[in-house]
Amino acid sequence: MKKIFIPLEKISKQNRTLLILVWIVLLIVLWFAGTAGEKHLFPNPAQVAKGFSDLYNEGLVTHIFHSLQLCFISISLAIIVSLFFAYLWPVPVMKPVSEFITKLRFLPFTGLSYYITLLISDARDMQIWILVIFLTTFLTTSLIAVIRDIPQEEFDHAKTLKCSRFETLVQVVILGRLDYVIDVIRQNLAITWMLIVTVESIVVASGGLGFLIKNSDKFMNHGRIIALQIIILLIGLGLDYGINFLRKALFRFSKI
């Protein structure tokens, strides 16, 4: 029992699960206790439960699928674009271009959507492309970092196998790091999810979780707001777990 208070101590998987459960229970108890009185900062569990059931009856699941669809389309497109730039990064002539893309991640969102609007005429496509453009900058940065970190030995190994430069690119950089690509996607998913809620609350006409949370805020319906926050958190965690699982399943010997 003492072990759990000692730094760098290893504990069994069972104990770890138990600890997590205890913390979750504590959090829930704190929530119930903190909102038991007449005055409370956060909505109480009953209000959140009501928020959840109201949302469900008003088409929550459809909105969730809507957001997931947006997420899937935009992240797929962003991956294609960023892989293109990342794989061209080792080619000297393209290196400055790829690195320039990574620098754009510091640009703020506000104001730029106007120019995207001028180029894209449909509001839904606009949402997708805003996401693609901003995601590409983050994904390219992470992917280049993965390539940069490939140990020299792997390239040397390819050389000893008499691989040409292009074969080395394919074998070491592209095929050799596919598991890392999946992990990069997983890490950047949180940004996608945050951006999705933002773009959906800008163009609320297309629905989605962003629309719901914006709408609940408009009416100050805190039960719904917290219910939606919980839903978004759970979906985020679920996707995170799912992608990690996919990586492990596909790349059994991955050492990430």
């Binding site: 005055k39 163009v203 408009k218 009416f219 100050m220 319906n221 399943a249």
Partner: protein, 604 residues
């Protein structure tokens, strides 16, 4: 892999496929079993709520010295009171009463011992958060909450009050316990008089029915939206309040980015200039058609300077209807915290007194209006004094042969405020506005108002005139009445109402009281208009009897409205056309019911 399904007989890929199919199946089942998104049915409300009481009074008051621009030192020791509001010109009175964003030397606020800060905030959610912060600090025991982010009151459009007060009340009840804190309208300080408007192609003005199927960008639930909804209903058009669907038989709305009225203008411009479209789910009679419709934005409902931006950048657009026509619709409502106000009644009354006195000066003296424009510029930090001065009075422009109007505001003196609430003449204009908009919120249910808020705070709880009535020793002048002697010719709106009468008689059925109430409310909001009322019947019975009957039915409506305070001089024509002008077939009961109607035309 053999890890997931605990079998060695499958390859990794096939095992993964099985897992994906199973998860996909479960999610698919959830998707199909769970309730779909609710769609709203477009509605044509049988009623108009227009009341036009022009309150541009002729008054004679002694001139008071203009406020200086330096901050007052006399009141600096007193606790600071903060009020926040959007940038709009109708608030000029309270701002010049303060001399600017903070109380200045020689200002009327200083003379009334008020240390006031006026904060510009164009986001409704932020206005609300600031007021909630005030309540939180007050709840913690601070008699005069002082943090920068807390405001005692907000100034918003009075037609937005049912939405604002009701949604905040629900939140207050949940957070502090039922009925511990309340927000209330404590006075009206001025009004938009043309500043807020619907902008669209000229055809919408000459033939309002051509608006059918239009998509209009606006801040849903806001006063501009109300102006547009009023116009639709006055012209018998259906309204689709659901921002995610498109109904070709109704007028549709696109909710502007960030609930920003400027964005409403920009969305129209970008749609018209770049071909930007919005994809919406098609809907008919409240049911999804399964088709997706891509629509450009056809018009916008916005206010100054949004209107100026549109007219500067686009040709072929005019103001269709505005708060000049619905002149009583949009007062500047001061919404304060009841519990704090009842502990500091003199403070609240003094703020109102200083504002109403300054407004009276603005009505009398041009240099007060100019000083107000300077104070407004200093407070809003946008444009310059010349701009606000011109926009206060309203500007007219022409482009490619089309005439359009921008701006236009009024400020209230004491007599105006008393008249507006019906304290002096018994016609409570604000109550009509409040009830009408409450009706729109609950019947149209924009953004799911009913599910989210649960109900509207009734007028009697939402409005507290104690502080206004508590003002004493203020120059009080008689408000000018609207002059109805002149004949009006321009049709502003023409709506047909089905009012039920007892068979063969001109006695209005009790089932039609709600409709008459809506008509009354609409007439109150457009108080400057004159009225033509024409009755019609179906073809049952003989011509002569029907003629008589239709006229006496029109007269019955007039009698009802007169008894509610609408003056006889406002009715330009009261006539009956019998069965001569059917709008539907007389062969069916449904068609005959449509033909038994009263047409009310509002004339400018």
């Amino acid at each position: 892999m053999g890890k997931i399904l605990r079998t060695q007989k499958l390859t990794t890929l096939s095992e993964l496929l099985i897992v994906l199919v199973v998860i996909g199946g479960i999610l698919g089942a959830i998707y199909f079993i769970s309730p779909g998104i609710k769609t709203s049915i477009s509605k044509k409300l049988e009623g108009i709520d227009v009341n036009k009481a022009d309150v541009n009074n002729v008054v004679n008051a002694d001139k008071i010295a203009l406020p200086a621009k330096d901050e007052s030192s006399e009141v600096s020791s007193k606790p600071k009171i903060r009020i926040a509001g959007y940038a709009w010109n109708a608030q000029s009175g309270i701002i010049v009463a303060n001399g600017g964003p903070v109380t200045t030397k020689g200002s009327l606020m200083e003379k009334n011992n008020v240390n006031l800060e006026i904060i510009r905030q164009d986001w409704l959610s932020e206005l609300r958060n600031m007021q909630m912060k005030f309540i939180e600090e007050y709840d913690q025991g601070e008699a005069f909450p002082q943090s920068d982010k807390s405001v005692f009151a907000v100034m918003i459009m009075g037609d937005g009050a049912p939405f604002y007060i009701s949604s905040v009340q629900k939140s207050l009840d949940e957070k502090y316990g039922k009925d511990k804190y309340h927000l209330q309208v404590m006075g009206a300080l001025g009004m938009s008089y043309g500043e807020d408007k619907l902008i669209g192609p000229p055809a919408w003005k000459s033939n309002p029915k051509s608006m059918k199927g239009a998509l209009i960008s606006t801040v849903l639930g806001d006063g501009d939206w109300v102006t547009t909804v009023n116009y639709c209903f006055a012209n018998g058009l259906k309204v689709n309040p659901d921002p995610t669907t498109y109904d070709e038989d109704a007028v549709n709305f696109f909710p502007s980015e960030n609930d920003d009225y400027m964005k409403a203008a920009e969305e129209l411009i970008k749609s018209q200039t770049t071909g930007w479209t919005v994809s919406l789910k098609g809907v008919k009679e409240g049911k999804l058609t399964g088709k997706t419709v891509s629509r450009k934005i056809d018009g916008c409902a916005t206010w100054t300077p949004g209107d100026k931006v549109v007219f500067d950048k686009l040709s072929g657009f005019v103001d269709i209807v505005s708060t000049k026509e619905f002149n009583n619709q949009m007062p500047v409502a001061l919404i304060g915290v009841k519990e704090w106000a009842t502990k500091n009644p003199d403070m609240v009354s003094n703020i109102l007194k200083a504002s109403l006195t300054a407004s009276n000066q603005m009505k009398n003296y041009d240099d007060w209006r100019m000083r107000a424009a300077e104070a407004v510029t200093a407070t809003y930090k946008i444009e310059n004094a010349d701009y606000w001065y011109k926009m206060f009075q309203g500007q007219q422009g022409t482009k490619n042969g089309l005439t359009y109007n921008m701006g236009g505001s009024k400020v209230f003196n004491y007599a105006d405020a008393m008249q507006y609430f019906g304290i002096t003449d018994g016609v409570n204009r604000y109550k009509s506005v409040y009830n009408q908009v409450s009706n729109y919120l609950t019947e149209l249910n924009p953004f799911g108002f009913n599910e989210n808020v649960g109900g509207v705070v009734p007028y009697d709880n939402a409005v507290n005139l104690f502080f206004l009535k508590n003002i004493n020793d203020i120059e009080s002048t008689a408000p000018e009445k609207v002059d109805y002697t002149e004949e009006k010719k321009e049709v502003m709106a023409s709506g047909e109402w089905k009012i039920n009468f007892k068979t063969g008689s001109a006695d209005i059925s009790s089932s039609s009281t709600t409709e008459l109430e809506k008509i009354y409310n609409l007439l109150i909001q457009a108080e400057n208009t004159k009225l033509n009322i024409v009755g019609h019947t179906d073809n049952q019975g003989d011509d002569a009897t029907n003629n008589m009957l239709s006229k006496s039915r029109a007269q019955a409506v007039v009698n009802y409205l007169k008894q509610r305070g609408i003056p006889q001089t406002r009715f330009q024509i009261v006539d009956g056309k019998g069965e001569t002008d059917p709008v539907a077939t007389n062969d069916t009961e449904a068609g005959r019911a449509q033909n038994r109607r009263v047409v009310i035309t509002l004339l400018n």
